[in-house]
Amino acid sequence: MSEPLLQAVNLECERDDRVLFRGLSFSILPGTLIRVEGPNGSGKTTLLRILAGLNDSYSGDLLWRGKNRHGFREEFLRNMLYLGHRPGIKPLLTPMENLRALMDGRRPVPDKILWQALEGTGLGGFQTVPCRNLSAGQQRRVALARLLIADEPLWILDEVFTAIDIQGVGALERLLVERVENGGAIVVTTHHDLRLPSMQRVTLGGGDGHGY
């Protein structure tokens, strides 16, 4: 059970002649939440994109359930959910259509469930309004609705709390805690002061943040 889902071994990433991190190793176990910390520009987003498989200019190894991830692209992607800065919401489509399109690539879900998920993120009544008429926070909530129905065991969430109001933040924290208690694995970055039980930290931008 406590086999790590994803393991980073000796990760190193260099960007524009600057070493962002070096010799970074950690394991993502089921039932844990890992918070990636560091000042602006320390490579938090880059690390998350590397973990998600979007950025492959790194050296070191990424092991998916103990084996090199390269051979398990399909299985890895099936079991991983990534939400980035740009949440993948098309301004021209409605929240329903957006959620539909995002889920269509991953899992068949009936419309009723999608509708409920949007209600669950506080978008009840906005389901069929084009997203460009929604506020930034509401647009993020459309993307967050995926978390209410996602069954991927590994979540990688970049700045999830951005543009969400205080009450929403509280609810979202509860969602993450519950998820972790049920055995999900979550990696997050956030500037919001997140204090969850059994939260692990990966800190970037430490001593060897530069290569000279």
């Binding site: 960007r15 524009d16 002649d17 200019s57 290569g211 000279y212």
Partner: protein, 247 residues
């Protein structure tokens, strides 16, 4: 085998080898090129159809020949970049693309000037000239894309994809241009296809082709060294080397 391959990919190792090789490439190449050209210009007999204007061949053919093979070499290097992520392969592509473009331009220019006395016009939309022109466009594309992407690794791989797409297209382009040529151009302006070139002509031609090849090798080494110095500026060996050279 694998170790040799790995070593080949090491910029430091290459830098040393290149330094040793370069004088030879330059001087042997220059000697062969000059010999070929002097022989071709002054001693080879004149062509019975085109007269003396054919003497342009001793630079036109080497330039055209190299212009095409440089692109093929770039494509091979591009493949190596994509498959093995070998840094040196991308260094080669970057260093060599402008040289390839210049050679292509030279082939076009000498072809055009040769055309004036032979065909009576500077430019004809002849199959060879046209496909050379398109090759020049391909070179420009590679250079423009390389310059536009700032991140080194992404830039290397993007350029590699483009070069490979280009090389798949080259035979198609060549074939289509030839087909188009037969459609529009009655075959009156055909360059004399010599059934048998006398040895006094092809030996100097061969000399100048080989000579230009070697000079290209020298240029490639030189420009690759520059590129390596820029990219590896932070490594210790470059720092040491730079200090040693300065004093």
């Amino acid at each position: 085998m694998w170790q040799i391959f790995h070593k080949l990919g090491s910029p430091k190792w290459f830098f040393g080898i290149a330094s040793k090789l370069m004088p030879w490439l330059l001087w042997v190449g220059a000697a062969m090129l000059v010999a070929g050209i002097v022989w071709g210009l002054g001693f080879a007999p004149k062509d019975y159809l085109q007269g003396n204007s054919y003497r342009i061949i001793f630079i036109h053919v080497p330039a055209a020949f190299l212009a095409q093979s440089v692109y093929i070499m770039m494509a091979v290097a591009g493949l190596v970049t994509l498959v093995w992520r070998m840094k040196l392969a991308d260094v080669f592509v970057r260093a060599v693309a402008p040289v390839g473009a210049i050679l292509t331009f030279l082939a076009l220019f000498t072809g055009a000037v040769w055309g004036k006395p032979t065909w009576g016009t500077w430019w004809i939309w002849d199959a060879r000239l046209t496909s050379m022109l398109i090759l020049l466009f391909l070179y420009f594309g590679v250079m423009a894309l390389g310059a536009a992407i700032s991140d080194e690794k992404s830039s290397a791989r993007a350029v590699a994809v483009l070069v490979l797409v280009g090389v798949v297209n080259i035979p198609i382009i060549k074939y289509s241009v030839e087909w188009w040529n037969t459609l529009h151009q009655p075959a009156t302006f055909k360059l004399t296809e010599k059934p048998s070139m006398p040895a006094e002509m092809w030996v100097p031609l061969l000399l100048s082709v080989l000579g230009l090849y070697l000079i290209f090798g020298w240029l490639a080494c030189l420009r690759m060294q520059t590129e390596i110095l820029v990219r590896e500026g932070r490594t210790r060996w470059v720092k040491e080397l730079v200090q040693a050279r300065g004093n």
